[in-house]
Amino acid sequence: MTAGPGRPPGPAVRGGPLAVLAYLMRRLFAAAVMLVVIIMVVFSIFFLIPKWAGVDVALSFVGKQADPAAVEAVRVKLGLGDPVYVQVWEFFKGIFAGRTYAAGGDVTHCSAPCFGYSFRSEQAIWPVLTDRFPVTLGLALGAAVLWLIFGLAAGVLSALKRGSLWDRGAMIVALAGVSLPIYFTGLLSLAIFSYGLGWLDAQYVPLEDSFTGWIGGMILPWVTLAFLYAAMYARITRATMLEILGEDYIRTARAKGLREPVVIRKHAMRSTMTPILTMLGMDLGALIGGAILTETTFSLPGLGQAVLHAIKNQDLPIILGVTLITSLAVLIANLVVDVLYAVIDPRVRLS
């Protein structure tokens, strides 16, 4: 009975495929703008903070015993003496168009996705990222499949058998999964299955070398990572499902004479998926930027491990590169989730 702005009895708007497309375009544009902003902000943070902290970036690039002339040459070559906005622009240009470092006769060309060079190894960053990215992606996606299957199944079953032994058991296991740290469950599983029983090899084998080897090496990391997330997803699924089962439209579905399994599958599950998807987008995005604990525990040469080394060595360009990849992954994952959202929930298309 209120006349507030929340609920204007407006004219009906059709929410067909066109609406989904328009919605998608809007989100894409927003994501692109976001990406540009992120690149600029992240670069500024990484190259301004050392300055404030009194750390000479050029010095850390050359090494502690470098002579002042070499340091100056690096400073000129990397453009570290330039004003901040010039540096930001050069970095930004480097990512999309490549960039040329020049100091006198010393000219280095760094082609298109140029993220600069490592302070320590003087390797270009981009190849490091592309080497390590598939490892992390494989870890995250594989684990996600596992945790979705087990988390959703456990959550739905617990909701439907609320208060039963199964429900209590599953929720205790889930609580354990949420509370136990990865390095504990990871090391425990390594100790049992790899060192103890010798069932699985704890060695990472690249996918292109051997498919079965890759699977064998990834099983423990997958299970360990999935255990944590499956536990979280089971709890959320259970709570959401219980809430949805109390909705009026579920009662309507039963009043139509639908069989209970259809009520659950077609009516309750679809609504339950909405919050799960949101979580999945965030979690996957974050994990693709590197599952530091899991990768370290299982010695996987992924982004997480790279960033850990870089932090130890104060290798700013690597940290910067991984941070940008993480941001990009989160952006893409959220974009995908938004689109799925619009497909699932017709009301989203309008706003």
């Binding site: 929410g15 439907l160 439209y249 009662r251 309507t252 009043a255 004479g257 209970e260």
Partner: protein
């Protein structure tokens, strides 16, 4: 109505062991109790009534009187999809067209739902699934009970939307519930519930969430459709205006029990229960000259866990001391006939109530 009197005359207190009834719908001594941490909630505690095809029964009561629980009980929705340990405890008999539902196979009852008996809910926005189009939801309702392809079912859906007065039904069928206005949604809900030509339609507060002018449209629609389809209708509402518009018979509920039941005219013009008087006195009326003052019922509705002993209404009844020996506080009154097809559950004698109504209550209304 006269052809019904034979069956209904026998209904004061049907015994639980009596054979299958001849009425289309007969509820006998229905009890729906819910166990909770605080105790047993006796939402419905011994309710009996009958309903014939083509007739409308209005169930009136305030929140917590058990009227909605009754309707869900008839539909079998207290047992369907109840997960967990605390299930509703249901006893009594519900006879629908010769079948007793409470003892029947649950899957058989499921097949009756939506086809033999259908329901309209109070808030059509929350009662329709937000992720499916109106058409998809009606098509689903139809195809559960009819083995037809989607095209045929869709045609049927459009036809039903047209019948309930939705403009451009062939376009609107593809809209989502949030693209409809409140009144249109309730029309769509009605279309969905009538898609299988059910013989029993239960409308639970069908117009409470709607504006007055839209309410008038929907009441009009329900009345027309009932004439057309000849279904038996149960209207559940707290609004005496709505029951007066629709109902042939009225059942007044209080604290999970029926306190008065009879033809609409009797209940409105010669009510024989103090709670019914209270309801009538509480209501400002547009069709009368301005009342000086409303005559409210004092106090609040009873707890359903600790229902007052004796007559559940006794703590709020201004006449609780009229019967002798404190009988209102110790003995629960049973429904007794007070006129032709008219029952009330009160300890006062018929004469006392007649006198109080005509001398004290009616003149003030």
């Amino acid at each position: 109505m006269t052809e019904l009197s034979k069956t209904q005359a026998a209904v004061g207190e049907p015994t639980a062991t009596s054979p299958a009834p001849t009425a289309f719908l007969e509820v006998r001594d229905l009890k729906v109790h819910f166990p909770t941490d605080d105790g047993l909630v006796k939402s419905v505690d011994g309710l009996s009534f009958q309903l014939e095809r083509g007739k409308t029964l209005g169930i009136v009561g305030e929140s917590g009187s058990g009227k909605s629980v009754t309707s869900l009980g008839i539909m079998g929705l207290h047992t369907a999809g109840q997960y967990g340990k605390r299930k509703a405890q249901i006893s009594g008999e519900i006879w629908l067209d010769g079948t007793e539902l409470l003892s029947a196979d649950p899957d058989h009852v499921r097949k009756l739902r939506g086809r033999e008996m259908a329901m309209i809910f109070q808030d059509p926005l929350s009662a329709l699934h937000p992720y499916y189009t109106i058409g998809q939801q009606i098509v689903e309702a139809y195809r559960i009970h009819h083995d037809v392809d989607k095209k045929t079912a869709r045609r049927r859906a459009v036809e039903m939307l047209d019948r309930v007065g939705i403009p451009q039904p062939d376009k609107r069928v593809d809209n989502y519930p949030h693209e409809f206005s409140g009144g249109m949604r309730q029309r769509a809900m009605i279309a969905m519930s009538l898609v299988n030509n059910p013989e029993l339609l239960i409308a639970d507060e069908p117009t409470t969430a709607l504006d007055v002018t839209v309410q008038a449209q929907i009441l009009d629609l329900i009345r027309d459709l009932q004439k057309e389809f000849g279904s038996a209708v149960i209207v559940i509402t707290h609004d005496l205006g709505v029951v007066a518009e629709l109902a042939d018979d009225i059942l007044v509920m209080y604290g999970g029990r029926c306190v008065e039941r009879g033809p609409a005219e009797k209940v409105f013009y010669e009510p024989r229960h103090p709670y019914t008087w209270g309801l009538l006195g509480s209501m400002p009326r547009l069709d009368r000259d301005q009342q000086e003052r409303l005559i409210p019922v004092k106090g609040s509705p009873p707890s359903l866990i600790n229902v007052p002993s004796g007559c559940a209404f006794n703590p709020r009844c201004p006449y609780a001391d009229v019967p002798k020996d404190d009988v209102t506080r110790t003995v629960r009154p049973e429904l007794a006939e007070v006129g032709s097809r008219h029952w009330a559950a009160c300890h006062m004698t018929k004469e006392q109530r007649e006198r109080i109504w005509t001398e004290e209550i009616a003149p003030k209304l």
